[in-house]
Symmetry: C2
Subunit: 458 residues, 2 copies
């Protein structure tokens, strides 16, 4: 059994466990109290703040502990927007931010603000020039992740921070995925992170607001954590979070090389082993432990079940069959294949043997899913002037499977129209065309759903 979903949550680091247990005895009291138990708690909290600030590369009085990374993002975005409300109400985010940032942006829009989403390239990275173009005189805040949580692509934070700094706009960096590996470079203004991504306990986030950044905390007043994180401080967890951040940093350089080699092995082997697969994310500027690929003719969730049965815990940005019925916004923004998506994110200390075993198991698992899906209820093929595949009512990856089945019947130069109403088809049919060298002509409204037109070129 191997857990390969560290980007979601990492198991507790041994140092975190040790620190947690020690501080359960010393850190349960109210650090605002003057008696000995309170003073001990305050000392632990202060020491944890110093340690975390050192790891981030900021002053201790710029850093507060929140109850989660999500909460840090929500508080950071709302406070920075409110602090610069006089300047304007324009917010910039990248199209591939974590949902916590996008949800904060939604609230901002519902409240009358405006948001610009900066597009990413096919490898998932933004360009600093795109941020420069998005900046306006009324821009109150820009947000950019340090690295993407789904595909591992590292963002040009220092360049974007410099562009923002020139415009006098603060940049909030969501460093959830990268803080374990090192401080965020560049002249950013706010930073958020989440301890359970680096082997700390759940229930601890970080919010850093640089001195001089205008910040107006929203919501009910609370004296704790400089008024930026309401509620009683969870000191044992905070102590454990700081201790584990320091511990993972001590091994980061060495472990990064090792994990990078393992994810590179997956990147290289997966296309050879599976066929009809697209490895996504930037091949060079990427996090050491994350590798993501998408498999044609595969339903991501079924594949996760197959892999779970084989003892591997991975996640998927392809949620075609989940309740929401929408593919990952990240894969969508990148314009890459979303069907049969698998994210492997290796925890610190991931065993080489487990990775090799994963590569042994994977082809069988993918083949099993493809076999299961290979005989769906046949779609009606209506021959008109062009071939029509009716996949209305069918969920991803069925429309693509149907397309693949009939493309051989289309004369070279001829077209086929795929009727589909599953949102994922809009992404996956062009992606299939790109992968198979066929021409994607475009989409047009159809009586039922949307018609995606493909021309056979070979």
């Amino acid at each position: 059994m191997a857990y390969f979903d560290a980007a979601s949550a990492a198991p507790l680091h041994p140092v975190a466990r040790q620190a947690l247990q020690a501080s359960l005895d010393e850190g349960w009291a109210d650090p605002a109290r003057l008696y000995r138990e309170g003073r001990r708690a305050r000392m632990l909290l202060d020491a944890a703040r110093e340690a975390a600030a050192e790891a981030v590369g900021c002053r201790a009085d710029e850093l507060v502990f929140t109850s989660s990374g999500t909460r840090a993002v929500h508080t950071g975005v709302a406070g920075a927007l409110a602090g610069r409300r006089r300047v304007g109400r324009h917010l910039i985010v990248s199209a591939v931010e974590h949902s916590s940032v996008l949800h904060a942006a939604e609230v901002h829009e519902a409240d009358g603000g405006t948001t610009t989403q900066v597009a990413v390239g096919r490898e998932g990275a933004v360009r600093a020039e795109a941020y420069a173009e998005a900046l306006r005189p009324d821009t109150a805040l820009a947000c950019l992740q340090s690295a993407n949580h789904e595909v591992g692509t590292v963002q040009p934070v220092a360049e974007v921070a410099s562009v923002c700094r020139q415009a006098g706009v603060p940049l909030l960096v969501d460093a959830a995925q990268s803080l374990a590996w090192g401080p965020v470079e560049g002249d950013w203004s706010l930073l958020t992170a989440s301890a359970h991504k680096w082997g700390g306990p759940s229930g601890v986030g970080l919010l850093v607001v640089r001195k001089g950044v205008r910040f107006a905390p929203q919501g009910p007043a609370d004296e704790r954590e400089s008024g930026r994180a309401a509620g009683f401080e969870n000191i044992p967890a905070i102590v454990a979070a700081a201790a584990s951040l320091r511990a993972v940093r001590a091994e980061a350089a060495q472990e990064a090389v090792r994990l990078r080699e393992l994810t590179q092995r997956i990147r290289a082997r997966v296309p050879e082993l599976l066929g009809d697969v697209e490895v996504v994310g930037d091949p060079r500027r990427r996090l050491p432990g994350i590798v993501t690929f998408s498999c044609l003719y595969v339903d991501g969730e079924t594949l996760l079940h197959e892999l779970d049965r084989a003892g591997f815990s991975v996640s998927s940005g392809s949620s075609c069959t989940s309740s929401t019925l929408t593919p990952s916004h990240v894969l969508k923004a990148m314009g890459v294949l979303s069907e049969g998506n698998v994210r492997v994110s290796l925890p610190l200390g991931a065993a080489e043997d487990d990775v090799d075993r994963f590569l042994q198991v994977l082809p069988g698992a993918v083949a099993a899913v493809r076999e299961k899906l290979g005989a769906p209820v046949p779609s009606t093929v209506v021959r008109e002037d062009a071939l029509v595949v009716d996949a209305v009512g069918k969920l991803c990856p069925i429309p693509v499977i149907e397309l693949a089945k009939v493309i051989g019947d289309v004369p070279v130069g001829g077209t086929v129209r795929v009727l589909a109403d599953d949102e994922a088809a809009r992404l996956d049919i062009p992606a299939w065309c790109a992968m198979r060298g066929q021409e994607y002509v475009g989409e047009e409204p159809a009586e039922k759903g949307t018609a995606y037109v493909v021309r056979r070129t070979l």
Copy 2:
């Protein structure tokens, strides 16, 4: 050494520690994931929710875990107000609520809503009739604590809930101080609580919203915890919180009797031992473990230091010398003496010997503070037509000490004017008069600060 501030935070219950350690191994993964680690985490979370719901007396799907009691209150108040926004924007709270409720009310007012504060009697309790009078056609929500955190007075929640129910207004009960002792009675609509008050770890609160109560969560969307508590669930802490709630409930009935006897001993002995002391809070309808008293001519913070040096950790609602320079809003609302205030809140298992030793140490500690303060810089006594004591610029308890020093110089039937600009004097001079049988005539504006007029009657 004895810790007598359980109303602020209780040390971790042994059962909580055990549950926390066990679930650190099983509960760190994302409960929304489908692989085995995620399923295990989900099972732990579901079981904890069932256990907590049983202790509260609600359905499991009515209860979510938040990151603190404060957060539960903020979310509960905001969500309930938004859910009934069409009805109106009037909020009712008692004058002695926890600061988290009052701060939520402040935000509501800043946002254009209105709030009615229901007054309390001298023993700290509201009357159900007062809530009935405060209810208006546009009342969206009423809030009432189950018991007061500073003086231990138990509130008539069932009666107030019934009054609110008749008016169709939901009642939110802040049960932070009482949930360890038993479920909250009556037909309430929302309930909040905090695990570290019952020996659970920090970082866990409860928010219960009864089915049928209109509730619209505010802030950025998040799928976790029914959309009512953003951020990754802290499952080990949640498991520990639920386990310790169950454990303290099992011993509650027996322990309540024991602690009630100990606090009764303090209530009875303190006036005999100290003199010039007022024991506050309801003598009968009160929590088992809390007893609060105020000492004339004593500065609360100095007394806490004396007691801390003697090995006792207690807290004070009298913050005359703290940064805020205002006496506790609770003592103020009750109209009782606030100077030299001490709250003793016994943790479960508090040793009888420690309580007796506290009663031995207390008289010496109070005497030491009174001695220190007995020789302040003499105030200028200006004889005009009436005696004037100029205590402008002097902080509590100096104005009262100066008053006590000169009252003997006033002829019976004559008056003395105390000039003071410390806010606490407004509360403490009338309280001193009531305790010493002198007549408090009233206050009037003076050239410097306020003049408090006292007539010597004996």
